[in-house]
Amino acid sequence: MNNIWAICKREIKTYFTSPIAYVAITVFLIVTGFFFYTLIQWFNLQSMQMARNPQYYQQLNINQMVYAPLFHNISIILLFLVPILTMRLFAEEKKSKTEELLYTSPVSISQIILGKYFASLLVLLVMLFLNSLLSVFVFAFGNPEVLPLLSGYLGLFLMGAAFMALGIFFSSLTENQIVAASLGFGFFLLFFVLNWASQFAGGIWRSVLNYLSFFQHFDDMTRGILDTTDIVYYLSLIFFGLFLTHSVIQSRRWR
């Protein structure tokens, strides 16, 4: 446990003493803030128009109309930013040969991986937390339902956490950070839209493609539906990513 914390602490320090975390968080907040602003404006406009029609007015729902699309937009931004946050984690150790220190210290490979992973999760948490502060205005002037909001943020966190785990895996494959980021970005994008292909696939493939797609599992959560299948999906992706990283590092040393 102490070892994991030692590794994690150093990674957090690196994130926050270099511009990486600040730039990523700032970009994230500006872009998501802009999305939030436009969605709220649009909702405002709708409300005013519908105020004349009580029947439609009943159907106005800030969770559905602002938060669900917002969560989808945030997930796309995460898809861009996570590979940039994880590309360094193993690639740089390899390039600068600092891995030799780690692997000759009494620290296990799993502890190294977990330490780095937790550090990247912390950056994700900071991003999502700062973003969630925007909702203060919504609560001040409206009354959104809290549970769908929480499940949406949980969905974002789980998806980001899965991206981070897979991003770490891509970082362990190479000593070039750009390669690691490109692999991560390409893979995430492909898995995001995998369900598009399901329309043309038949039989079992349709459900397989649907199940594998990030989007499908995320969609429910943005609408406040918490399904164990979705949570299990993300947790198994996290496990899969970290496990692959472990295998890569182990096999590289045995070659």
């Binding site: 070892n3 320090k13 690196t14 600068s96 030799e100």
Partner: protein, 308 residues
């Protein structure tokens, strides 16, 4: 103590180390010599648990490197060829991190960091970012990092590379001072370094052992004759026959403005010659031993392939 038996490491079809066996005694400094690509770094990486071997056995202080890797890592300090530095940290932060992952107990951490900073002479730069300090200081941070947990075994891959002459001497003194409590193995290209600080050498080439043993053992086993060079105030030809008549002397040559006297390695007749010179009042100016030096030894071993 470090013991290596029939160690083999293959990268694909290439042998980096082939059937290597040697022993480093406790508390001694042992040099690992060899031309480039001889397998020095690979051997050290295997001993520190960084790389697994393809075959063979290695034990460090009684722990099997492949079975009890974690125990080995706890008692070993390692300075790799490329110093593993996180350049965005200050020297002190970096050493704190190393102290953490070397599992120094929290109550001893501060002391350990202070001690390694002091020993390695880093007091001046301890609050500076590693990326901003000079090459020599970076090398010292590498040494501080290897020493921080006061390891029984120290493995140093070219510890004096990139340092200026004064720093080289300092680092050599530092390494010598660690002898006794620590068993040290270092690789180097500087042969003079070996004679100055090492008790013994392992010479490898193409991943294979060429020679190993203490310096005296090796030099005496590789030379057939011992000898002295002697310079005197008197330098007449008659001295040639005079020296030849000393019992045990095999050859006498004129060399420069003195004489070279040789005898078999089975005995030492230096004192006999000295007495001769004094008794005959020849006026001694200079007398020096002509035993094999490390350069000769190295070249002979690398080219000849004599195994000891």
């Amino acid at each position: 103590m470090i013991e290596v038996e029939h160690l083999t490491k293959k990268f694909g079809d290439l042998f980096a180390v082939r059937d290597l066996s040697f022993r480093v005694e406790k508390g001694k400094i042992w040099g690992l010599l060899g031309p480039n690509a001889a397998g020095k770094t690979t051997t050290m990486r295997i001993l520190t648990g960084y790389l697994p071997a393809t075959n063979g056995k290695a034990t460090v202080s009684g722990y099997d490197v492949f079975e009890q890797t974690n125990d080995v890592k706890k008692i070993t300090g390692y300075l790799p060829e490329v110093v593993p530095l996180y350049t965005e940290m200050t020297v002190e932060e970096y050493l704190k991190f190393v102290a953490d992952i070397k599992q120094i107990p929290p109550d001893k951490k501060k002391e350990a960091i202070g001690r390694s900073i002091e020993i390695s002479g880093l007091d001046l730069v301890k609050h500076r970012l590693i990326r901003n300090i000079s090459r020599g200081f970076k090398q010292r941070v590498g040494i501080a990092q290897a020493l921080i947990h006061d390891p029984q075994i120290l493995i140093l891959d070219e510890p004096t590379i990139g340092l200026d002459p004064a720093q080289i001497i300092e680092i050599r003194q530092l390494i010598s001072s660690l002898k006794g409590e620590h068993t040290i193995m270092l690789s180097t290209h500087i042969l003079a370094e070996v004679t100055q600080i090492c008790d013994g050498v392992v010479i490898i080439s193409d991943g294979q052992l060429k020679a190993s043993g203490s310096l005296e053992e090796l030099t005496s086993s590789l030379t057939e004759r011992d000898g002295v060079f002697i310079r005197l105030k008197k330098a007449g030809e008659e001295l040639m026959s005079l020296f030849s008549s000393i019992p045990g002397v095999e050859n006498v040559f004129r060399q420069d403005d003195g004489f070279k006297i040789e005898w078999g390695t089975d005995k030492d007749i230096r004192d006999v010659i000295t007495r001769y010179v004094v008794d005959n009042d020849l006026g001694l100016i200079e007398m020096k031993s002509l035993g094999m030096n490390i350069e000769d030894l190295y070249l002979k071993v690398i080219s000849g392939g004599t195994e000891q």
